[in-house]
Amino acid sequence: MDLDFSAAEDRFREDVRGFVQARLPPAVRARASRGLSPTRDDYLSWHRTLQERGWVAPGWPAKFGGCDWSPVQLHIFEEEMARGDAPLPLPFGTKMVGPVIMEFGTPAQQGLFLPRILSGEHWWCQGYSEPGAGSDLASLKTRAVREGDHYVVDGQKTWTTLAQYADWIFCLVRTDPQAKAQRGISFLLIDMRTPGVSVRPIITLDGAHEVNEVWFENVRVPVGNLIGTENQGWTYAKFLLAHERSSFGGVGRAKRELERLKGVAYSERRHGRPLLEDALFAAKVAQVEIDLMALEITNLRVLDAARAQRALGPEVSILKVQGSVIQQRISELLLEAVGPYGLPFVPERERHGATAEGIGPPHAAGLAARYCNERKLSIFSGSNEIQRNIIARMMLGF
C-alpha cells in the first residue's frame, strides 16, 4: 500500500503547475482571488491557451485530440488548475457530450463536433432538467416528433448552466410518449440558433446569472443530430453520468478554498488575536481540514480502482455527498470568518468591472454571495438525497 504519487506523477504536477503560473492571465487570476466567477472571455481565452498545449480534453483518447491521460493524471491536472485559480474547461462539451459522441456518435458527428469542442468554437450546454423533472429525470416531457428529415421539438428545459453563451445544447427529449418512463427518450443535439429556441435568465440567491430556462417552440432539428438510436437516449444519459462522476469530490477546489479560509482567518481578529488562533474557530477549521483529508484518500481509492478498471461502488456517491458538504462548510466558515462584514452584499454581476470594492475588507467581498451560490453543490448532479438513495440501494437492494 502506497499513498504517495510516483516521481513521474510529481514531475507531471510540476509541469502543470508551471504552465498555469506562466500562462494564466493575471486578470483571470485576480477575479478568482476576489471570489468572482470567470467571465465568458476568461473561459474562452483560457480554453484557447489550453488548446495550444493540447490540454482542453486531456482525458480523451489521442485519436480524438486528447492526451490519453490516466485518471490519476487527470486528478492532478484538475487539482493544479484549482490551486492556480485557473478555470477548468467547461464540462458540458469535454466531459459530457464529447464522450457520448465518441462512444455512440456517427463518424460524421464525431468529425463535426469533437474538433469544435476542442477549439472552443462550440460552447455546449446541458438540456436535462425540466420544471417537472428534477431528481425524477425520466419523467421529462419535452417532445420531439419526427416529421420527414427533422424532429420538431417542443418543451422547456431549466437550470441550464451558462446557456446564455452556448452555441449548442444536448437534450433528452421524449420521442415515444406511449413508452414507459426511460424507454421513450432520445438524445438530441440542437443548435441554439435554430428558430424557436429562446433563453431566459434565472437569477439565483447570489444575484448571479449562471442558470437559465431554455424554451423550445416548433424547433426543427435535423435527424442527423440524433445520437445513436431513437428511444435509446436513457442509455447514453447513464453513460454520461458515469463519466461526469470521476471528479465529483472537488478535492482540488476545496483545498484551494481551505487555503483561502486560513488566509482570511489569519488576518481577521478576535479579541486582538488572529481568528485562526482562536480555539473555537481553529477547531472548526481543523475539523473541515480533517474531513477533506479523508475525502482526498477516498478519492485516491476511487482513482486507483478506476486506473485498474475495477468496478466502482458507492464510493462515487460518497465523494459527491462529502465533497459538496465540505465545500459548503468551507464557504460557511469563510463567511463566519469576516463577522459582520458578511452583511454588505453586492450582486456578483455588479462587482464585475467595478473600480472599487464596497464597505469592509476586500477579502470579505463576495463571501456572502459565494455562500449562497454553493448551496447548489448538494442539489445538482443528483442531489445528496438521491446519492443516499443510490448508496442505500447498493447496500439494501430496495
Partner: protein, 385 residues
C-alpha cells in the same frame, strides 16, 4: 499510489480470517469473556502459531518483519470478531517499544518470547493525572545501588496482568517536560508493584498500578536514560493506527449486521430498510465507515514516517475521523436494531461498547482535534508575510 495488497498480505489476511471465523464466533468469545482472566491463552498460542504475534518483530528475533499495513489487516479482523486478547497492547505497542529502542540484550531476551506467545507485554505509561497527554509523567526513577528505584502510579494499564510491564518514570524535569523520562522492563511480580484491576466497558481488563520502591537493575532500562518519550510517543502512534484499523473492522461488522436486519425485519408489512428514513441512515453509516477506512490507511502508512509533524497530524486526523464514525455507527446500529439492539444477547451492543471504548483510548476526539490544530499548516499567504 497503490491500494492493492501483495500476495503475502492477502495470504496473511486469509489465514487469520479463517482462524477467527472458526475459533472466535460470538459464543466462543462470550465464554472467554466469562473466564476469570478474560482472555484465552489458547487463542494467544494459536495466534503465535499463525505467526501473527511476530508481525512487528524483525526476522532476526523470530518475527515476520512486517509492519503497520499487515497490522492493519489483522486489526480489521480482530475488530470484527471483537478479539479480547491483548494484541494491540502487546504485539503492537510494547513490541514496537522494545524493537525500536531496547538494548540488544533486552531484545534478544524478550522479542522471541513475545513472538512465540510465551510472554505478554504491555506499556504502563499513562497516569491518573495525564488524561491523554503522553508528556505528563509524575512517576519518578532514582538511581540507587547501580540500578533504579521506581515510585509512582500508572492508570488503566491495558492488560496489566501481562508478564512484563514497560514502565515509564522520570529521572529529571518537570511533570510535563519532553526530556527526562526513562523506561524500564519490570516483571509484573516485582516486589513493590501492585495492581488494582477492573473490567472495562468492552469486557477487557485494565489496572491501576502502584509503584512503591520498585527496584530494577540498570540493564532493565529501555533506550536512552531520560530520552524515552520519543519512542513511547512513536509506539503509541503505531497503537493509534492499529486502533483505527480495529475500529474499521468493528464498524464494518456493525454495518453488515444492520443491513441484514434492515432487509429482514418486517414492520407495517414491509422490510424496514424500504423506509427511506432508515435507508438514508444506513447510507450515512457506510459513508462514515468509508471515510474511516480511508483514514486508517493514511494512519498506517504515515505512522512509519520520519517527519514527526506530518506523522502526528495524520494520526490525529485519523483518530478524529475514526472516533466520530465509531460514535455514529455504534449509536445508529443500536438505534436501527430497535429494542433488540439494547440487549446483551445480540453482538451489536458488544461492538457498540468496544467502539465507545476505542473513542476513549489513546486520545479522544477533542484531544486529537486540538493537537491537529496546534500542528496546523499556515497558508502560503500567511507564510509570505
Amino acid at each position: 499510489m497503490d491500494f492493492t495488497l501483495s500476495d503475502e498480505q492477502r495470504a496473511l489476511q486469509d489465514s487469520v480470517q479463517r482462524y477467527v471465523s472458526r475459533q472466535y464466533a460470538f459464543e466462543s468469545r462470550r465464554a472467554i469473556e466469562r473466564t476469570a482472566a478474560g482472555w484465552s491463552p489458547q487463542v494467544w498460542q494459536d495466534l503465535a502459531d499463525l505467526g501473527v504475534l511476530g508481525i512487528n518483530v524483525p526476522q532476526e528475533h523470530g518475527g515476520l518483519g512486517y509492519g503497520p499495513i499487515e497490522t492493519l489487516l489483522v486489526m480489521n479482523l480482530f475488530g470484527s470478531c471483537l478479539l479480547l486478547e491483548p494484541y494491540a497492547a502487546s504485539a503492537v505497542v510494547a513490541t514496537a517499544v522494545l524493537r525500536d529502542s531496547a538494548s540488544t540484550h533486552l531484545q534478544a531476551s524478550w522479542l522471541p518470547r513475545l513472538v512465540r506467545g510465551e510472554a505478554v507485554a504491555t506499556l504502563a505509561h499513562f497516569e491518573p493525572t495525564s488524561r491523554f497527554d503522553a508528556r505528563q509523567v509524575r512517576s519518578r526513577a532514582t538511581l540507587a545501588n547501580g540500578g533504579y528505584v521506581l515510585q509512582g502510579q500508572k492508570a488503566l494499564v491495558e492488560h496489566a496482568a501481562a508478564d512484563i510491564l514497560l514502565v515509564s518514570a522520570r529521572i529529571a524535569g518537570a511533570d510535563d517536560a519532553q526530556e527526562g523520562v526513562s523506561l524500564f522492563v519490570v516483571p509484573r511480580d516485582a516486589p513493590g508493584l501492585s495492581l488494582r484491576s477492573c473490567r472495562t466497558l468492552d469486557g477487557r481488563s485494565a489496572a491501576d498500578i502502584a509503584l512503591e520502591s520498585v527496584e530494577v537493575p540498570a540493564s532493565a532500562r529501555v533506550g536512552m536514560d531520560g530520552g524515552a518519550l520519543a519512542v513511547i510517543e512513536r509506539s503509541l502512534g503505531f497503537g493509534t493506527a492499529a486502533l483505527c484499523a480495529e475500529a474499521v473492522g468493528a464498524m464494518q461488522a456493525l454495518v453488515d449486521a444492520t443491513v441484514a436486519h434492515l432487509k429482514t425485519r418486517q414492520q407495517f408489512g414491509r422490510p424496514i430498510g424500504s423506509f427511506q428514513a432508515l435507508a438514508h441512515r444506513a447510507a450515512d453509516m457506510l459513508l462514515e465507515l468509508e471515510q474511516a477506512r480511508s483514514m486508517s490507511f493514511l494512519a498506517a502508512v504515515r505512522s512509519m514516517g520520519a517527519d514527526d509533524r506530518e506523522r502526528q497530524r495524520a494520526l490525529s486526523a485519523a483518530k478524529v475521523i475514526t472516533n466520530r464514525a465509531a460514535r455514529f455507527i455504534g449509536q445508529q446500529a443500536v438505534q436501527l436494531h430497535g429494542g433488540m439492539g439494547m440487549t446483551d444477547e445480540l453482538q451489536v451492543g458488544h461492538w457498540f461498547k468496544r467502539l465507545a471504548a476505542i473513542e476513549m483510548t489513546l486520545g479522544d476526539t477533542d484531544t486529537h482535534l486540538q493537537r491537529f490544530a496546534a500542528l496546523g499548516t499556515f497558508p502560503a499567504s500567511v507564510r509570505a508575510t
